[in-house]
Amino acid sequence: MADPTTYLSHLELGEPDKTFLDSNELIINMGPQHPATHGVLRVILKLDGEKVLGTECVIGYLHRGVEKIAENRTYTMFNPYVDRMDYVAAVSNGLGYCEAVEKLLNIEAPPRARYIRVILTELNRLASHQLWLGTHALDIGAMTPLFYTFRDREEILKIFEKYCGARLTTHAFRIGGCQYETYDGFERDVKKFLDFVPPRIDEYEELLTTNRIWVERTKNVGKISAADCKALGVTGPVLRASGVKWDIRKALPYAAYPEFDFEIPTGANGDTYDRYMVRMQEMRQSLRIVRQAVERIPEGPIMAKVPKVMKPPAGEIYHSIEAPKGELGYFVVSDGSTQPYRVRVRPPSFVNLQALDIMVRGQLVADVIAVIGTLDIVLGEVDR
């Protein structure tokens, strides 16, 4: 456990390297409109030349009061709203919320529904990672991977569209299961996708993994130790890249995950390159899970018996899932009425973003870009 006081010092920003020739400190305001902040993140950088002395994130430009809205909607009505938080991984968001409310209602989704959930969620994880890879590479200056990943992500979105009619904010799941049965040819489409995408992932790797410039730009950049990760509550691929083999899908399984065989990829150094490698391997692991799920998908109903008017008994529940970005938790409090008394979302991006400061300290401006990219934040989720 690292000494927490080391983190406190970041608030009084560091001092410049005192040398014979005093260089000027420069305060730069990066964002909220900036091509590399992935939305409306504003980072105030204190620079000594190109070296970063400290940062402060200013967030909230996209705040929509999702938690307040939840208190004024019924459980079912709030379901589509969660898709608008992490809009590149809407399916994961929906899954977390539905499962939390199901727990509160003390019901269980039928096995077939759980398999469909796993398939779509893992495809969504792949889509999210693809989007991350494209934008991250673009931030570091490699333009081409963006187009390759978007080309392949399109195939996933097509499957989503065929399944539920929406591409981005899917609203794929309902409390108690799934609303839609899979369409004819769903398995065929998914299997085709599974065959088609691994060579494409090799293609991304060919462009980047051994590229000298890429390696130089990412190795030893934005390092964070496992202890710091835990202290700062950083989860997801960032934590795993620091060498902690922890994934909620394994540690506290949900949906149908216990039935699948997959590995948790980990890194060793906790630098940007490791996070890149972890996510690349996670893509392949996701494909592995989807393949197993599609081959073994059971027949059966897709909705559990859910009351028409949902009135969960008074009580509270915390349920979290492994979203593409980390631990996505829902803390739902019920007072026995049709509307949730309080819904608290534990957003992985929000918590992970806190680590930006210690990751970029003492590094260069260009590394800030690389680190923001590697944290894989979505501002819709940070600000909610």
């Binding site: 730069i28 590399a36 190109e50 570091i140 200056g141 490699a142 333009m143 130089e216 401006v365």
Partner: protein, 416 residues
């Protein structure tokens, strides 16, 4: 007057050296016009090639296959509002793009497209080129400072440091090539661009292959440094859009911004021309030693014509593949006309008098085009260097190697 004009025609020298102001002016107009057209063509080609690297189509709407896109862009840029930030230093802000443009155009005075096809032949030609092209740093620095904004300032600081650093490695590589020019009977080298190519002709070898691999290493250093010198990917830090939005020209818009772009592409062609002149034998045709004899001469002299015919054929394939819909009638006709134009040029190039004159220019431009393609290829493939890594490459890798090559070249030149 007419005598004055015609007197140059039989001369075996450049108009600048002949002192013929009329022909010098003609050459200036032809070269500058040609360069401007080349920049426009390069703009279109870059967008198309980059798009195809990235599984996109690129411009498709304006004209057949977007052929008229650069013109549309130019019109758009010219009519755009010209914004000067209120706190900017107006005079410096105004003059910075002009400096870049002047610096990159001025170097074309000495670029030899052929033994006589240059505006003039300075006896310090290569020095002049390096010197004048280094002046474009001033424009970058001034633009960054005059914008009175943080991103441009950081961009211009980066850029000036980068350009000055790489100039040194570049200069060292150039010197080793110049040393090679002195390997003749009289033992005197030359700095003249035409003289350098003629030296390669006399020594029967492109300097790329001279003292293999020394020439090649020097060439590689120059090829890397020139990408850094022109601020192109993967060394495009001064305008790294993900870090500094657009670097030193963040605050520029409209015409002034397009002047920066024009300057950038012009400089790219200029440094590529230096590389071609110094190491790739300038206007000399490939395989001058192995494929000799009048038959081969004829074959090589026909290549320009065939190249244009091939381009025309590509255009006609495009015509055939155009959608057969009335909506595309004009586009199809336009593309056919374009192909026909290329074909006519190709046929013209078969005529013996034209053929002989145009050969040198063709080979020179073809070699430069290879570099232009490499620029696009780099941009599609590489991520961007970080500033400290860039400096490390420049000072700790390229410069020592360049000095080593220089010393070895000198030793070999004395020994052999």
């Amino acid at each position: 007057m007419l005598d004055y004009v015609t007197s140059y025609l039989g001369m075996n020298t450049t108009p600048g050296q002949a002192g013929n102001v009329f022909w010098a002016l003609v050459y200036i107009f032809v070269v500058f016009g040609g360069v401007s057209v080349a920049v426009i063509a390069m703009n279109w080609l870059e967008r198309k090639a980059l798009a195809h690297f990235q599984i996109r189509l690129g411009p498709m709407r304006v004209g057949p296959h977007g052929l008229l896109q650069p013109i549309a862009d130019a019109v758009k840029l010219l009519t755009k509002e010209d914004i000067v930030p209120s706190e900017a230093d107006r005079f410096v802000f105004w003059i910075a793009p002009l400096i870049i443009l002047c610096a990159s155009f001025t170097v074309y005075i000495v670029i030899p497209f052929g033994p006589t096809h240059a505006i003039t032949d300075l006896n310090i030609g290569i020095l002049f080129m390096l010197g004048v092209s280094s002046l474009s740093v001033l424009g970058v620095v001034m633009a960054g400072w005059a914008s009175n904004s943080h991103y441009p300032l950081i961009g211009s600081l980066r850029s000036s440091a980068q350009m000055i650093s790489y100039e040194i490695a570049m200069g060292m590589a150039v010197v080793s090539a110049i040393l090679m020019t002195s390997l003749n009977k009289s033992g005197t080298g030359t700095l003249s661009m035409i003289g350098i190519v003629e030296a390669q002709q006399q020594q029967q070898v492109w300097f790329l292959f001279k003292f293999f691999p020394l020439g090649f290493i020097a060439f590689a250093i120059f090829a890397i440094a020139m990408v850094a010198e022109t601020n192109r990917a993967p060394f495009d830090l001064p305008e790294a859009e993900s870090e500094l939005t657009a670097g030193f020209h963040t605050e520029y818009s409209g015409l002034r911004w397009s002047l920066f772009m024009l300057g950038e592409y012009t400089a790219m062609i200029a440094v590529s021309s230096i590389a071609v002149t110094l190491w790739l034998g300038g206007w000399l045709r490939p395989f001058p030693n192995t494929l000799t004899g009048p038959a081969w001469d004829l074959v090589f002299s026909l290549i320009p014509g065939f190249t244009f015919l091939a381009l025309a054929a590509i255009a006609f394939v495009g015509v055939i593949r155009m959608p057969k819909h009335p909506y595309f009638r004009i586009q199809t006709a336009g593309l056919a006309a374009f192909g026909a134009g290329l074909g006519v040029i190709g046929l013209l190039l078969f005529l013996p008098p034209v053929r002989d004159r145009i050969q040198d220019i063709f080979w020179f431009i073809a070699k430069v085009a290879v570099f232009m393609y490499l620029y696009i290829w780099y941009r599609a493939t590489f991520p961007r260097y970080r500033f400290d890594q860039l400096m490390k490459v420049g000072w700790k890798v390229l410069l020592p190697i360049a000095i080593g090559v220089l010393i070895l070249t000198a030793i070999l030149g004395v020994v052999l």
